[in-house]
Every structure is written in structure tokens, then in C-alpha cells.
Amino acid sequence: MGGLTYNSISQTRMATGEIYCQTLIEMAETDPRIVALTADLGKSSKIGAFMERFPDRFYQMGIAEQNMYAVAAGMAKSGLIPFTSSFAIFASCRALDQVHTDICYQNVPVKMISSHAGTSFGQAGTTHHSTEDIAIMRSLANLTVICPADGMETANAVRAAVEIPGPVYIRINRGYDQQVYEDLDYGFEVGKAVELHPGSDLTIIAMGSTVFQALQAARELDAVDKIKARVLDMHTVKPIDREAIIKAVHDTRRVVTVEDHTVIGGLGGAVAEVIAESGMGCAFRRLGLQDCFSPIGLHEDLMSYHGIDTNGILKSVRELMQLDFEEDEDWADEV
């Protein structure tokens, strides 16, 4: 990817939000349509550096999210490509009507970079946890929904977002992410899952912060249990990679989804829809928040609490592998 110079080193030095901001600055150098908006979260979302570089293309909107998203829609209708930086909870819940009607219905290229997603701002409690945003955003027509696994993938997603003609929702975490990718060149493509680990016994489909955890789990399953787990980084939740899911069912017959989000309507829901419509049988489990609001705590502790960290995934996979699951050779033919 021309111009971008990030690698795993940058990732250890930079929070994911900072990588987003640097990527945006680099793109804005050559694309005058790009502008940035925030609602008093310039510091928290790390978009402040954009303001320093392009003070005339930065709009501080104050603590007024509904106004910000509708203003961004107006800008986008008039030839700009606005990037909004706020918390995922405020993009998906507070300003939902504006996002629905002004951005998605009118199908304008507002790029909503939404941070502090899932339980990554765990200590702030439910008012700041964003554990329903994927379910909400996924249901909005015209919207592309991406949940990058780490800083590198965030850079790729932000790059890709500009190329997409319509609105895009990118969901990132607070602070630093565990590193999944060494650099930018692993073939990121919107709507195409990345196979991070090969496997024929079962498939773990993950997004965002759980991708790293899934990968760790797969390595351990390989080493300890001799279970070959395929890991898919399903960074694009919409449009979802149906082909990769159907192939996973066909090849492995067991699928586990894992997300820092409610299991209702999120990644697990999206994958379940594809599997159900495929007509193929499959042992299936959705890991995530089980229809609850999360307690407070550090992100890693909450991931453990909700069973979406490496140990939680291992436990579920081991249970699933022990299920008396009838593998009927014919099933795959019923598609």
C-alpha cells in the first residue's frame, strides 16, 4: 500500500486510534475531500494529530453527537468524505436516528470510526460499553461494517473505507490491541475473511480483539489436543464472507464464533444466518455476551469473564469437540 509505512513496530508504540489517525493524515495529504469531525473526543479517539496537521479540515463539534453525524451527512452529500471519531456506543445508540436516516438511508460516504468498542473501556461501565453496535449497524442498509483485529488491520480498513462509495462503520478498541498482523501486506480485502490458521476439525470465526485470542487458542489446540482449528478473521461483518463460512462448515463441521459483543445479532448472529440458509448441518456455538450487560473491569478481565479470551475459547472448543456429533457424509450434498 503506497505511502503507508506501518509495521509491527509501530503497533507496539501506537494505540490503534493513533494508527487510525496517522493513516487518515497520510490519505488526507493527497485527498482534499477528507475532513475529520469529533464530539469532544479528539483526545480520547486520538484524532487530535489530524487537527494539528489540518486545522482547516478538522471540525470540533462539542458534546453533540446527533448534530455531528447529521452535519457529516450534509458534508458527504456535498462532496466531502467526513471521518467521524466518537465512541462506538454514541455512534450506534445516541445518534442512531441520524446515522440511520441522514447517513445510511441517503447513502452518503460518512466514515464512522468508532472507538472504545465492546468492553474495551471496561471500567466506565455499561454507559460506555458498546456491546450491541454490530447488531444495530449490521441491520442498516447501505452500511459496510468492519471490525479490525489490530492496528495494521485498522490502517487497512481506513484505507479501504475511502474507496467504498457509501457509508462505513469501523469499530476499534480503546488503547492498544494485541498484534495479529506483522504488516499491512497480508491481502486485506473488504468482505473477505482472512484465514489465519489452517484447520479441518473445527473453525473459529472471530472479529476485533477476539481474533488474537482465537489464534492463541488454535495454536494451543494444535499443540496440546491435536485439534486442528481453522481461524478466520471475519473483519468485515457486513457484507459477510458467506463463501468462507460455507466452506468452513463443509470442511470442519464445527463452528465457533467469538466476539466482544452480545451474541444476539452480532458476528455469531450473522454467521448463524449464513449457516442456517446453507441447509448444511453443523455443530455451532456463539461466544460473546450472553444477553447481558457487562460488569465493570479491565478489558482483559472482562474478556475472561465472558469466556471470549483464549481460555474461554479453549474451554468451549473442547466441549464442542466432545459433543456426540453425528458426522453424516451426505450432509454437504444437501446444499
Partner: protein, 287 residues
């Protein structure tokens, strides 16, 4: 003088103690919203220890006056009051914000005794407070509802929807207070999104609005007393305050919206607070 000397001294001592406890809690938690907790603590102290009709033995007493901390991130200050009132075990402050604790940055009304509304998403509190005030009228109860807003929070359109409705219903059993510390996260309110002319905005929305020194118990008590007697208009009391008041390295600096403090800084903060208390006592004695 609306407050006698004894009451004033009690309030001074209480607010001082709560400021110290807030610092301690920030240290336990590792970080916290110090600035906005210290700017509102005087008003909250006055409310809980002098103004509000509450039952110390029963934080859920149904006829109690309500307090909605709409700027929910100041929970780290509010919790020190609840602990002092005996609603929350003092020991629990040590768990503030830690994994598994009942107490996160934004207090949960279903979990923490004394919290009248779960807030944290800015711009909801005034509407919640209006609902409580309307319910009082509906149920023929005579409790008052107090709502504390952040000034930055008033950039949310929903605050003005609530304001319009409060004036429309002439809801004088609801007293709106704004912690006008002139700072938010990214900077000073007037640089981020101009609020001025602020008092006039409230007036235009149909309120009796006045700006008073938000660190002066006398002034706040007088304004509240007047507000409770006012029947022709709802009242908005704009508390002219300083973010981080009493701790020199925070005072007036928007960057202290949220942060961590080291043990050394905490020590310094306690020292500053002692000096600040002395200064205030001298003023009280001189009065």
C-alpha cells in the same frame, strides 16, 4: 446569612474531608475524573448535608429528595458522599473501578445505594430528573429533584429539549444546577463549542437563571432557597466553579478532566487541600 456559623463550619469540614477522600479514591482506582469531581463537590456537599430531605437509614426512602448527577463521570466524587453517609462501606472505595467492583466510573443505580439514576452518557440526566419531578406532582408527593449538569454537557441538544419541557410544565420542584467550570475534555468550553451567552440561554428557555460562586456555600444555599420558593418559573443555578478546585496542579487545567495520580502527587494534593481548607476557614471566620 442563610447558614449559621455552625452549619457553615460543618459543611466546610465535610467538603474538605470529601475532597481528600476523592483523592484517595483516585489513587485506589489508579485514575479518575478528578477535575469535574472537585468542581461540583461543594454544591453536592451542601445538597446532601443541608438541603436535601433524605433518610440516612434508608437511601431508597420513597419520599426523599432526588439528586441526578447528570455529569455521571463525577461519580468518583459522589461515591465519597455515599460512603460518608454510610450507604456504601468505606472499605469499598478501595475497589473503585477495579474488576469485579460494584463501583465503576459511572455509578449504577441498580447496584449502588443512593444513586438515583445511572448516568454517564451525557445529556440524559435533566430529562430523567424532569420525569421524577412530574411523577412527584402526579403522585402528590412534595419531594424536590436536583440535577447537576456539566457545562460541556449542555452542548447536547437533549439538554435543551429537557429545558424546554421543564419550562413548559413550569416544573418548579426541579432545580437545575450547572457546574460551570468552563472546561471539558478537549479544551475550554468556549474553544470547543461556545456556550456563552450561557445564562441568557436558560433565561430564553423560560428559566429564572442566575450565576453564583459555586464554591461558596452561602451563595448556593441562598440560590436554592430562593428557587424552592419560586413558583412562577423553574430555576437554573449556574455554579461558577473551577475544575480541580483545591489541588494546585489541577486547578483550572482542562487536561485534568481525567487522569492518574502518583503517590507523590496524591501527597501534594492532600497538602494543597489542607492549605485550601485553611484559606476557606479563615474566610468563614472573617465573615
Amino acid at each position: 446569612m442563610i447558614l449559621d456559623k455552625e452549619t457553615l463550619s460543618m459543611l466546610e469540614a465535610k467538603a474538605n474531608q470529601l475532597r481528600h477522600k476523592t483523592i484517595d479514591t483516585v489513587v485506589y482506582a489508579g485514575s479518575g475524573h478528578l477535575g469535574g469531581a472537585l468542581s461540583m463537590i461543594d454544591a453536592a456537599t451542601l445538597l446532601y448535608y443541608n438541603v436535601m430531605n433524605i433518610d440516612r437509614d434508608d437511601p431508597d426512602w420513597e419520599d426523599r429528595d432526588r439528586f441526578v448527577m447528570s455529569k455521571g463521570h463525577a461519580g468518583i466524587g459522589l461515591i465519597t458522599i455515599f460512603s460518608d453517609l454510610g450507604w456504601v462501606p468505606e472499605e469499598d472505595l478501595k475497589t473503585f473501578n477495579l474488576t469485579g467492583s460494584k463501583y465503576g466510573i459511572h455509578l449504577d443505580s441498580n447496584v449502588v445505594p443512593g444513586v438515583d439514576a445511572s448516568t454517564g452518557s451525557l445529556g440524559h440526566g435533566l430529562s430523567l430528573a424532569l420525569g421524577m419531578a412530574l411523577a412527584a406532582k402526579q403522585l402528590k408527593k412534595d419531594y424536590f429533584v436536583y440535577c447537576m449538569l456539566g457545562d460541556g454537557e449542555c452542548q447536547e441538544g437533549s439538554i435543551w429539549e429537557a429545558a424546554m419541557a421543564i419550562a413548559h410544565y413550569n416544573q418548579t420542584n426541579l432545580i437545575t444546577m450547572v457546574d460551570r467550570n468552563k472546561a471539558q475534555i478537549d479544551g475550554e468550553t468556549e474553544d470547543i463549542m461556545k456556550l456563552e451567552p450561557f445564562q441568557e440561554k436558560w433565561t430564553a428557555f423560560g428559566f429564572h437563571a442566575e450565576t453564583i460562586d459555586g464554591h461558596d456555600f452561602e451563595a448556593i444555599a441562598q440560590a436554592i432557597d430562593d428557587a424552592k420558593k419560586r413558583t412562577d418559573q423553574p430555576t437554573c443555578i449556574i455554579l461558577d466553579t473551577v475544575k480541580g478546585k483545591g489541588v494546585c496542579f489541577c486547578e483550572g487545567d482542562y487536561r485534568w478532566h481525567y487522569g492518574g495520580i502518583s503517590k507523590d502527587m496524591a501527597q501534594q494534593a492532600h497538602k494543597d487541600l489542607d492549605a485550601y481548607y485553611d484559606e476557606r476557614l479563615t474566610r468563614v471566620k472573617g465573615a
